[in-house]
């Protein structure tokens, strides 16, 4: 197991204890790394009943076995814990450079439990780790924190930083964790758990070397796969314009959430805040994570007008949509400024945009009034209103304090059937894709183990025909607005999604590769003699493990559903009249996955996957 350091750095912020725990070969071979290995460690060490904001919740920061090898897309990290937003399994992944540095320091991951009574940070420099006072950092935003911790150093000694901003400090339930200024593990509230533990940041300096089991073969594969990615048309287009390009093209397909998912056609509004406008007027350069031949990140600058933005990270598609068409906002400089504020605050742009959209609809329908808003308004497309509500959420002022709990909790508090204006699954707000335009995505949202998600699987890319994986029966040629055959697509693409988040490889890079390429990467890196069947079975095992954890946290078959809003057909646009046949797809999916009528993995399937400990807890 050469690229594994076989060590998890365990830190208890209550006692101050720091120790390195050993990982055994069987565990890493079967659960790999990233969020897969984190789920296994969570099962073994944490009660599923744990209060997410209590010291007993454990926050895992994990690299994958490919980090530090230079393989394309291998530099992402994962965050996992019980989510304070959803109350079930939570995880997120972010790009950047933290994971390779952690491996070079000698660790496959970090497990943080306990809670400090004062702000602290964890500083790791190779085999030395310590807890330091971070009182002077508390209150700083993400950009300020990064500059203070990493501003002066250069070269190998320059620390790679994870941190939270004010949203995490204020326990906003959808606070993000930043890696640098431009990469975020934003979903499910990992930043909130850091805030509850009074953990402001983690810095790591790693000067060691990550060696694969078969260095020559790994080097040749690195060259070959990097060339494949570089020559792939999807990768080239992401490099040319970034993910925000989708705003220019997805409107006619009915896949741009508009006015809180109530309109099927954003018209020119989407294009006004899309990739073309950003590239022409505000882009200064593209940027890439470590070991990435694509470079989908955008660096932007707004020189004039009321929404000036200093040169820095520009919005991804999700952020531009969540603060653009979702709120009926077509002001591009304002979107860029909102994106900068979201980054600085360290807040999940999807759930934050969704919370504001929900509140705007409540305001429009008279469920909340200007009195509830301290005299302010909350009007569709009104930029001042959006800025004001963003600040209120992050600093928990007025109605913002209610929205900071997430849309599910807010709807319970506001009542008046306002849950009809939410668009969440299992408490996690839907990303900026729509199950009415992509029926498989609808099923994938319903079944995702962290709640509505577009990255726990590869359905978006498959249903959009950006890629195919014929080795596992994903042959391509899919039609978005059809439900037939999608249960199998989602089942298989989830297993691959679990692999990308366990091997921890960027899904955009993986679109250009085959599953066989991933098998080879894992063989040459780790030395395990995986074949395709064994690796795919690891994906299935990890999905079932997370599902079982969720069952232990209270998830049942009744939670596998789409929100009413997404089951209401559009009257206009490219997906007009279309709704996914959820009853049919769920029935077929349950059979593929091996779930019983209560939504639990069957004991037989758990035994076949070697999940006996989970089976003992469930049955």
């Amino acid at each position: 197991m050469p690229t594994y350091t076989a060590k998890i750095l365990e830190i208890d912020l209550s006692s101050g204890n720091i120790a390195a725990a050993e990982l055994d070969e069987d565990t890493v071979r079967r659960f790999i790394g990233g969020s897969g290995l984190a789920a296994k460690l969570f099962l073994d060490r944490v009660s599923p009943d744990v209060d997410p904001l209590s010291p007993e919740n454990v926050l895992f920061f994990m690299a994958g076995p490919l980090a530090g090898t230079g393989l394309p897309g291998s530099s992402r990290f994962t965050m996992s814990c019980k989510s304070p937003l959803t109350g079930i399994w939570g995880e997120g992944t972010g790009g950047g450079n933290f994971a390779p540095a952690l491996k070079r320091a000698g660790y496959d991951g970090i497990a943080v439990r306990g809670a400090s009574d004062r702000p602290v940070m964890i500083a790791i420099e190779d085999d030395k780790a310590e807890i330091r006072d971070a009182s002077t950092l508390w209150g700083k935003d993400v950009y300020e924190t990064i500059d203070l911790l990493a501003g002066g150093a250069q070269g190998k000694k320059k620390p790679k930083i994870l941190c939270i901003g004010p949203a995490g400090e204020n326990l906003v339930k959808f606070a993000a964790i930043a890696n640098g200024k431009d990469a975020f593990a934003a979903r499910t509230g990992g930043g909130t758990v850091m805030g509850a533990k009074k953990l402001k940041a983690i810095s790591v300096v790693g000067t060691g070397k990550v060696e694969g089991a078969f260095p020559d073969e790994l080097k040749a594969l690195r060259k070959e796969t990097t060339k494949k990615v570089s020559e792939n048309i999807i990768a080239q287009s992401l490099g040319a314009m970034g993910t925000i390009m989708a705003l220019d093209v997805s409107g006619p397909l009915g896949d741009i959430p508009t006015k809180n998912y109530s309109l099927g056609d954003p018209g020119e509004m989407a294009v006004k805040v899309g990739g073309g406008v950003m590239t022409q007027r505000y882009l200064t350069r593209p940027e890439a994570c470590e070991a990435c031949p694509i470079g989908c990140k955008r660096v932007v600058k707004v020189d004039e007008g009321p929404y000036r933005v200093e040169e820095g990270p520009g919005p991804e598609y999700e952020t531009a949509t969540a603060f653009g068409p979702l709120l009926m906002n077509d002001n591009m400089p304002a979107v860029l400024k909102l994106s900068e504020k979201v980054n600085r605050y360290g807040v999940d742009s999807i759930s934050c945009g969704a919370a504001i959209a929900y509140a705007m609809e409540c305001f429009e329908k008279g469920l909340i009034s200007t009195a509830d808003l301290d005299g302010d308004s909350l009007r569709w497309g009104n930029v001042d209103d959006i800025f004001a509500m963003l600040d209120k959420i992050v600093f928990r002022k007025g109605l913002g304090d209610v929205l900071a709990e997430g849309t599910r909790a807010a709807a319970k508090k506001i009542g008046k059937h306002s849950e009809d204006f939410t668009c969440e699954v299992k408490g996690l707000d839907s990303p900026m894709h729509d199950g009415r335009a992509l029926h498989g995505m609808g099923l994938a949202y319903a079944m995702s183990n962290r709640g509505a998600c577009h990255l726990q699987h590869l359905d978006l890319a498959l249903e959009s025909n950006w890629c195919a994986y014929p080795e596992v029966g994903l042959n391509g040629g899919y039609v978005g607005m059809e439900s037939e055959g999608k249960a199998e697509v989602v089942f298989k693409s989830e297993n691959l999604g679990m692999l990308t988040n366990a091997c921890v490889i960027c899904q955009f890079n993986f679109l250009a590769l085959s599953v066989t390429d991933l098998v080879d990467m894992m063989r040459f890196a780790t030395g395990f003699d995986y074949d395709l069947d064994e690796l795919v079975a690891c994906g299935e095992r990890i999905w079932m493990l997370k599902r079982g954890l969720n069952n232990l946290m209270g998830v049942t078959a009744a939670d596998d559903r789409l929100p009413k809003r997404m089951m209401t057909p559009f009257k206009e646009g490219g997906a007009a009249g279309s709704i996914p046949d959820m009853e049919k797809m769920l029935k077929e999916y349950y059979a593929f996955r091996g779930l019983d009528a209560q939504g639990r993995p069957t004991k037989e399937r758990l035994d076949a996957l070697g999940l006996t400990r989970l089976a003992e807890k469930l049955y």
């Binding site: 390009m245 989708a246 705003l247 093209v249 006619p252 959009s464």
Partner: protein, 89 residues
Amino acid sequence: MIKVRLSSLLRQATGWQEIVEVDARTPEASLRSIEARFPGLRRWMYDKEGKMWDRLQLFLNGKRIGRDELSTPMQEGDELYVLLNIGGG
């Protein structure tokens, strides 16, 4: 003349020109015409063997058309929207 409207990524190859007017009478001829005028478009429209990318989608007067409709007769003033369906994350 036929109006060919290009999605944003394709516009990078036309100097950000969104609408290109061509003298053609079918979607296929329109595509060949814009490709001849702006050679930088080729890699976004066709693979190395000259096969049109699956994710290149065409809308004739707002209605999506399939690969078997590339010979559909077009009239003066018709608009062909050429959309490279990539992005999102």
